[in-house]
Structures are given as C-alpha cells and as structure tokens.
Symmetry: C2
Subunit: 240 residues, 2 copies
C-alpha cells in the first residue's frame, strides 16, 4: 500500500510513546499559537464513537483563573495527603503534583454529552464511549506535545464542582481532564513516580491475558497475579 | 535537549495521527506475536493516574469465542437500528460496524478498579481516572497498530453483561473496549462515517474555547455554536 509506514517511521512513533512523560516542571516560555493549534488539531483527529467529536478545549492563560484553580488543588491535595502517614506521607508531601501556575497554558478538556443529538451511532449500549473518545483525544494531544518539546501534566486532584464554577461549564458537559502545558524543564527517562520510588511499571506479561476462554488471569490488587480456575480441557495458557 | 524530536519526527507523528482509522474490513493474515507484543507494549506505556496501570488485554483468537461475541453484536445492533427510520435507517443498516469474525485478533481491554489498592495517588476526587488512563492506552495501541499496517475497529454495540459472561470477567474489572485487529484491507483517506455521509468532521475552531473566564462557547447539539453571555468588561473572545 502506498501509505505504509517505514521501519524508521515505526521507530519514531514507538520512541514518542516511550518518551512521553507526565510533566510538572515547566519553563516560562510561551507556547506559540501555531504550535498549540497543531497539538489541538492532533487531539481533534482522535477516534470518536459515531464521529461524535464530543470534546471541547478550554484554553486558560490568565493568571487570575490559574490562581483560583491552584487554590482548588491545594484544598483537595490536603485532603488527599491525609490518606498517607509515616514515610509514605512524607514522600507524598514531597512530590510535585501540578504546575498550574508555572505552565503558560492550562487546558480543560471536556465532553459534551449532547453533542450529536440523542442517538449516536455506537453509543446505545455503552453511554460512556463519549468520555472514552475524549480520552483518546487527550492521548493524541499528549504525544503531539511531546514531539514539540512541550510537557503535559494531568492534574486530577481537583474538585470538579468547583472547577465548573470557575470555568462556567454547563451541566451537560463533563470535565474529563485538567492539563498543564509548557516547555518541559526536563523529560525524565522514567515516570516521575517510579523515579521517586512511589510505584513502578508492571511487566507487560502480567497484564496480557493470553487466552480468554477457560483461563482468565487478572492482576489483583497490589500486583498479585490471580488466575481463575480453568475449565477442564481448556487449560491453554500460553504466550501470545 | 538531547532527546528533542526533529521536524521529520514531528511530521511522522502527525501523519500517523491523521492516517489512523476505525477499520472494519480485515485481511485474514495472522498478526505475528512480536508485532502484537509491540502494539500492546505501546499501550502499556500510556499515562496512568498514580502509575496505576489498571489495564488488562484479553487476547481472543479462537473462532468459537468470536462467534459468541458476534451474536451479542447482532442482537444489540438490531435494537440500535430500530432508532433510525427512512433513508437514515437504510443507511444505518448498510454500514459495516464490526469485523469480529474476520479479524484475526480480538482484544478486550479492561480496567481493574482495585489494581493499586484503595488509595491511588491522584484518584481521590475523580474516581474514573482509571478508566480514562485505560483509554489513553487504547489510543497508543491504535496508533502503534497503524504504523504496523494493522487496522483497529472499536465495537461498542455490545452488551457488557453478556461479554462479561463469555470472557469470565470479574465484577471489579470494567470492560472499557472491545477491539478487532487485523491487517487492513484499506485505510481510507477520511473517516468511514464521513465517507458514507453519516457525519462529518467539525472545524476545530468551533471546539476551542478561546478564553475561559467570561466567555465560554460550547458547541450545542447538532453543531450549533452557543456562546454564554460574557461578563461585562471581559468580552475577550479572540483566537488562541
């Protein structure tokens, strides 16, 4: 096929995916409009159920709004920190979990549940496919930002209700993500939470379920592998 | 920075994103294990809240399981088709909405809500971030498949309850997506639903909300742009 990708192209994509990071430390340099447009355009080329394109991208650049959202984060983070005590609590409090005010651009990514009318093709039985589509858009955005040298940090320690008030978001619109964007001070070689020994990457082999019928293996909490009893005669547990 | 991406690299990523399609017509050729492994590894390198990595990938290759899942689709699709009448109903029935049995590999992508224990960093206030992370993994997978020449089709016209029974999925695990994978017969230049005149891509400018504070513009249903009343003195509606 004429549109096939070369081995070099494949290497580029895998490298982008491998080198993407959740970034919380930004340089103050502004993001040029054309760059931001390319990143949002990448997001907009995500798949969506019934071509519903439910997303909106609220671009926040003024310091006043950022400061109000930072306050929401600080309140919620205090509550979150209370879940951890001892050394883990100290580690938690030492982590930088957002860059709301440093990042030149904040983006609130939303999903309008009414976008394409009451019946969306492919959305009859699984209503949340609109939210899922919006998350695919976010991942496109994240990868596009990466090749532009721009870091993205997803801030999930927020009160959605308070965010709605600050950003005047109507009730039929779901807040899916609040992202900080800016040129990264650094892209680390491994995820920040792994680097700081909060968590580590699970081997992929533990997450693949090699054959569904008869043997279903699921990682249980705290990374213990549990394998459901196999049906007699169907113990076909093998590598892919 | 040493790890910066070149203009050529950027072009590759944008081209992959632009050329990704929802594919429903597959060639029967099997997907080599190493290729499938690379695709799943790309998925596994997605961002996840608190590095929770909540996903599992159930690989379905046997014809019996596929046939049972195809039956679930057929029942659900009959219900979905009942929402459309006249020419739109005829168009709906003419669309190929899945490739479950033709695709050499079906993948059920799930999210284990208990994966990292009761308190996941960043998941206190927005519990669905585990599902959102899993969707980011799906988009990585989709792009990786694209550079391998492999089409991905998301089948959302299914009963999750019935799927659970066929695949033995425990209750703490959410079924996020059911995907068909195989070498594509063709990658079309535009989305299938646009090509068949079911829906079309919205101009990106209608989806950006240029400035949040004071003016919030949201696309309303059926693509009518609505702009909320601006606060006096803050009518700063401008391009990015």
């Amino acid at each position: 096929m004429e549109d096939e990708f070369s081995a070099g192209d494949r290497e580029v994509l895998y490298r982008v995916i491998e080198r993407r990071r959740d970034v919380r430390a930004f340089r103050p340099d502004p993001i040029p409009s054309e760059t931001l447009y390319r990143i949002l355009s990448a997001a907009h080329h995500a798949p969506s159920v019934g071509l519903m394109q439910p997303w909106n991208f609220i671009v926040i650049q003024d310091t006043g709004t950022k400061a109000r959202i930072k306050e929401i984060f600080l309140r919620e983070n205090e509550k979150a920190a209370a879940h951890y005590s001892g050394p883990r609590g100290m580690l938690y409090r030492s982590l930088k979990l957002e860059g709301i005010e440093e990042a030149p651009v904040n983006l609130c990514v939303t999903a309008d549940r009414t976008r394409a009318g009451p019946h969306v093709l492919g959305r009859n039985t699984i209503v949340d496919t609109d939210l899922y589509s919006t998350c695919c858009a976010i991942e496109n955005l994240w990868l596009a930002a990466r090749v532009e040298g721009i870091g993205v940090g997803w801030v999930s320690i927020l009160s959605i209700d308070e965010l709605r008030k600050v950003l005047f978001i109507p009730s039929h619109v779901v807040v899916v993500a609040y992202l900080c964007l800016g040129y990264a001070q650094e892209f680390f070689d491994e995820p920040e939470l792994q680097r700081r020994r909060w968590a580590s990457r699970v081997p992929l082999d533990q997450l693949r379920v090699p054959r569904a019928l008869g043997t279903v293996g699921f990682l249980k909490r705290r990374q213990q592998l549990r394998v459901a009893p196999a049906r007699a005669g169907q113990v076909a547990r093998r590598r892919l």
